[in-house]
């Protein structure tokens, strides 16, 4: 009974007890939540950037490795032409190492009927059973006639195919790969197949067009493009910068916004205006100029190619705030969410006494950063024109310079300058029209950027800035 009474007394006592937490708890909670939100955003951005950079590097690494098989052999076509013996009597030839610099991946050996084709063949061994190979009548190669051997990829591995170039109708015969520990055919050049006793040695045929010997009688040899090397591009983009925010305050506007944010930041009786886009559907337009040096991988045959580089940017926008209420004290930092410098009290005071006055805020940013991205061919218009899609992540350090002055029309009252550093990350996407001219490659097209600018909360008591820009990008290789 006693215990029950005590329970009731205690419960009543706590039910009756009303105590609220001190007002400094909520700001701490809000700050922590904001930090977490920011951390999540950063994790997302860095993950995306890491994926882009990582995939670029991985792609490059794979691409480079795939071009250096363990054993590669070169057979000069002239040597092969002299080998007019039966295939099974041929000897293994020690083929020299392939000069990777002079090879291109096996794509289309440009075998045109009745055309004069000069093709160097870099042999790769296959584990193909000799008997099986020659079981097929079509594979019994007439060494005296001209044949060109090329490789065709099948599901299992590369298969062999024979294309008779001295016939108008191009025929291909695929041979199934059969494992053998005894004999292997070596495909050497455009006119012969050899069998070696060295079994289980895999090689790959790589063809190289000998354009010099055919087309270069009266012209300069065409400049070879090296696989895996990088093209330098200079990129310039001129964009319109779009940022949300208020730009006109009247007494009624201030009154509306007071309710929204007075509890959030009541600082010394001043009025804080919340600049969330839901409250302020006004947007400011500025300009943005990006200059970048981009290294793009030379690889016309591949769908996606990585790129990296450095970029410097300049952006500028200005705001005009009309104060129509005498005595109103507006916290410009919060109201605009754009002004990154530390406002002084004198600034507030000066403005507080003015009516029908204007505050001009000019914001200038300079940023330096690295970029990494990918580029893919979307559409081939013709031999020299493509439509490309370019995606880039650009983390950078941002230096901002804000110049503010408070004035009545044509009368300056106050001027303030400051320099701040912020971290900025941009995601850029561009649709580019690529034109290959004789000397240069030119790319031009629209681009869209999304910027995230991290502000120093402690210093400025501001939210981070998210902005977008749309404009034109031009790129030229040199």
């Amino acid at each position: 009974m006693q215990n029950n009474n005590l329970d009731i007394i205690l419960k009543e006592a706590f039910d009756a007890a009303k105590e609220t937490a001190s007002p400094d708890v909520w700001p701490n909670i809000a700050t922590t939540l904001h930090k977490r939100k920011r951390r999540r955003f950063f994790i997302l951005i860095f993950t995306l950037s890491a994926i882009v950079i990582g995939s670029s590097l991985l792609y490059y690494a794979i691409n480079t490795n795939s071009k250096s098989p363990k054993k590669e052999y070169l057979a000069d076509e002239t040597t092969a032409n002299n080998n007019s013996e039966k295939p099974n009597e041929l000897e293994k030839i020690d083929l020299p190492e392939i000069d990777k610099e002079k090879t291109t991946p096996l794509t289309k050996p440009s075998l045109k009927p009745n055309s004069k084709v000069a093709t160097k063949v870099y042999a790769k061994y296959y584990t193909v059973d000799k008997d099986d190979f020659y079981k097929n009548e079509q594979n019994k190669i007439d060494i005296k006639s001209k044949h060109v051997i090329k490789i065709k990829k099948s599901e299992a591995e590369e298969d062999l195919a024979i294309d008779k170039t001295n016939k108008t109708d191009k025929t291909e015969t695929e041979i199934e790969k059969v494992e053998s520990k005894e004999l292997n055919p070596i495909i050497r050049n455009d006119s012969a197949i050899e069998i070696t006793n060295n079994s289980l040695v895999k090689t790959q045929i790589i063809t190289e067009k000998k354009t010099e010997s055919i087309n270069t009688a009266n012209s300069k040899p065409k400049k070879e493009r090296k696989k895996g090397s990088w093209d330098k591009y200079l990129s310039l983009s001129y964009n319109a910068l779009i940022i949300g925010g208020n730009n006109v305050f009247t007494k009624s506007d201030a009154a509306k916004n007071l309710e929204a944010s007075a509890n959030l930041n009541p600082s010394g009786g001043s009025l804080s205006i919340n600049n969330s886009p839901s409250n302020s559907p006004n947007y400011k337009i500025g300009k943005e100029i990006n200059l970048a040096l981009i290294f793009k991988q030379k690889n016309a045959s591949k769908k996606i190619s990585p790129q990296f580089g450095i970029q410097i940017s300049y952006s500028n926008y200005s705001n005009r705030v009309y104060v129509t209420t005498p005595g109103a004290v507006i916290d410009v930092n919060n109201s605009l969410n754009l002004n990154f410098n530390n406002q002084s009290n004198s600034f507030y005071s000066a403005r507080a006494n003015a009516t029908n006055s204007i505050i001009n805020i000019s914001n200038n940013y300079f940023s330096l950063g690295a970029l990494a991205g990918l580029e893919t061919n979307l559409l081939k218009l013709n031999k020299n024109q493509h439509i490309l899609l370019q995606v880039q992540a650009i983390p950078s350090i941002n230096l901002s310079k804000s110049i503010n002055w408070y004035q009545k029309p044509n009368e300056r009252y106050f001027k303030d300058k400051s320099l701040n550093k912020q971290f900025n990350i941009s995601q850029s996407m561009a649709l580019l029209w690529k034109v290959n001219t004789k000397k240069h490659t030119l790319l031009i097209g629209p681009n869209f950027n999304y910027h995230f600018l991290q502000l120093n909360k402690k210093k400025n008591n501001l939210g981070n800035i998210y902005s977008s820009s749309v404009g034109i990008t031009t790129q030229i290789n040199f």
Binding site: Q2, A16, T20, S22, I29, A30, L33, R36, N279
Partner: protein
């Protein structure tokens, strides 16, 4: 600006889930008193209570998606804050429960206590209890947890929980009696 007070709870939750700061503030304003009193029960002082409340609200906002709408929101929030408080205590304070002397056995009638001591003094007396007693008494008497649930929360034996509850009540009675005597002397 919409009138925040007119926003119902489901809309408030929905906005909190979208990380709307005004909604989070509204939720905080609405329930901070209820939750703060819980924090006070577990904390030694108001600073510790504020820390627990802050941590509790952060957990509430970050885990709000786990609230499925089953039961009341405030009930769910209280459970989160209680768990936070218990974790906080485990983490920050390892108070060794002092064995209760048999002299705490008291035959004071609660009717007298009720008559002489007001609610504030009861709360103050409760706060003087060692935290383990306070925790168990709070969970059992005020929050309505069963011994099994308390034992599970505090990772102790159920019998131990019963024993501590009993001892806690005795100790509380003792403290209240002393306060009562003191008040009588003063009067």
């Amino acid at each position: 600006m919409a009138n925040l007070k007119s926003i119902d709870e489901s809309s408030l939750i929905s906005n909190c889930l979208h990380n709307k700061e005004w909604a989070q503030k509204e939720l905080y304003d609405k329930y901070n008193a209820d939750l703060y009193i819980i924090c006070r029960r577990y904390a030694t002082d108001s600073n510790e209570a504020k820390d627990i409340l802050q941590e509790g609200f952060i957990r509430i906002f970050t885990n709000l998606k786990q609230y499925r709408g089953e039961g009341s929101l405030v009930g769910w929030m209280k459970r989160v804050v209680i768990t936070t408080a218990l974790n906080y205590i485990k983490k920050h304070r390892k108070e060794i429960l002092k064995e209760i002397d048999s002299t705490y056995e008291s035959h004071t009638s609660t009717e007298n206590i009720e008559a002489c001591i007001n609610h504030k003094e009861i709360v103050q007396a409760f706060m003087q209890l060692p935290y383990q007693y306070r925790t168990i008494l709070g969970l059992f008497i005020i929050e309505g947890y069963t011994h099994k649930e308390i034992a599970s929360l505090l990772k102790i034996e159920e019998n131990n929980c019963r024993s501590k509850l009993h001892r806690g009540k005795l100790l509380l009675q003792k403290i209240l009696t002393n306060q009562n005597t003191a008040i009588a002397v003063l009067k």
